[in-house]
Symmetry: C2
DNA sequence: CAATAATTGCAAGGTAGCGAACGAATGTCA
DNA sequence: TGACATTCGTTCGCTACCTTGCAATTATTG
C-alpha cells in the first residue's frame, strides 16, 4: 500500500504488493478469454503436469488453505474441467483428475511463461537471488510471529 | 504460487505472493479485535494523518480501484467511523472525514510499525535497495504490457 | 449554446483469500 | 475395545480485488 503518491518513495512492502497484483492482473487478462482465474490455471497446470493428485497434497503444493481450494475445485468441477472422486484407501481424501474437457482446454491455453520473462528477464542473477533471500526471510519472520499468537 | 513443495526452490514470483500474504495476515490478526480489515486501516490512517480527503484522491494514493474503494468506504460509513459528504464545488466528488467515533478508535489502535520492522528490520540496506529495484522494475514492465492490450 | 467526451461514484457479479465450526473418517492409546 | 484426538473436505461469513455497465455531473469543443 502506498504511503506516498510519488512512486519514488514507496517501501519494500508497497512494491511487493504492487508487483504481486501486476503479475496477477496480467495473468487474469490473458486467461479471461478462457473464463479461467489465475488460481484455477495453477490447478490445471499441476494436474496436467503431475497427473491425478489428492486434494490435500495440491493444497500444500500451491500453498492454499483448505477452504480456499475447496471453492476453487468446486468451480472447476462445475465447469466440468476437473473430476473429484473419493477413490482410494482413505475415505476422507478426494482425488482430483483432469476430465477430457479439461485436457482439451489445457491444450488450447497459451503459454504463460512470457509473464515471468517480462517481469524478471534480463535482471542480474545475483540481484534476483538477493530479492528471493529478502522476501523469504521476511516471510519466515512474519510467519513465526503469526504462530506465536 | 509454488511450483515445488520444497520452499528452497520457489521462484521470485512465489515469494512475492507469500510475503504479501504473510504481512497481510499479521495485519489482519492484529486488527481483528478491533473489527478492522487491513485496507480499512489504511483509510483511517490516511484520514488521521492528512485530514479530510476527496475519495478520488484517496483512491489514487492507496492505489485502489474506484469500485474497490467504494465498498470499503461504505463499510466504514456503516460502522460510523467515516463520514462521506458531497460537499465542495464538484458535485460528483465525495469528501471523506473521520467521525468522532473514528478518531476515538484511531487513538486506541496499536502501532503497526512492528510488522514492517519484523519483516525487514536488520536486513542489509543495500539488499533492501536491490529488492525494491527488482520489484519496481518488474512491476513497471508488467504494467506496460498490460496497457498495450 | 448544444452535442459530445471525460470523470466520479455506485451496483452487480465473479475470483480469491481467510478463520471458524462441523461431520465423517481415521489414528492413538490407556 | 472404547474414548479421545486428528485429519480432510465442506459450508458460512467476511474482506478485498476486479470488470462491466450505469447515472449524474462537469468539461470540452464545434
Amino acid at each position: 500500500m502506498g504511503d506516498q503518491a510519488n512512486p519514488e518513495h514507496l517501501s519494500v512492502a508497497a512494491w511487493t504488493k504492487r508487483c504481486y497484483f501486476a503479475g496477477r492482473a496480467l495473468m487474469d487478462a490473458t486467461l479471461r478469454p478462457y473464463d479461467l482465474g489465475a488460481t484455477q490455471w495453477y490447478v490445471l497446470w499441476h494436474l496436467a503436469n503431475n497427473g491425478p493428485t489428492v486434494q490435500r497434497d495440491l493444497g500444500r503444493t500451491l500453498d492454499l488453505e483448505r477452504a480456499t481450494l475447496s471453492g476453487i475445485i468446486s468451480t472447476l468441477v462445475r465447469k466440468d474441467l476437473v473430476a473429484q472422486t473419493s477413490s482410494g484407501d482413505d475415505q476422507r481424501q478426494r482425488l482430483l483428475t483432469l476430465t477430457a474437457a479439461g485436457e482439451a482446454l489445457w491444450r488450447k491455453l497459451p503459454d504463460l511463461s512470457f509473464i515471468h520473462d517480462t517481469a524478471f528477464g534480463g535482471i542480474d542473477e545475483a540481484d534476483l537471488a538477493t530479492t528471493i533471500h529478502v522476501l523469504r526471510s521476511a516471510t519466515e519472520r512474519l510467519q513465526n510471529l503469526l504462530r506465536k499468537d
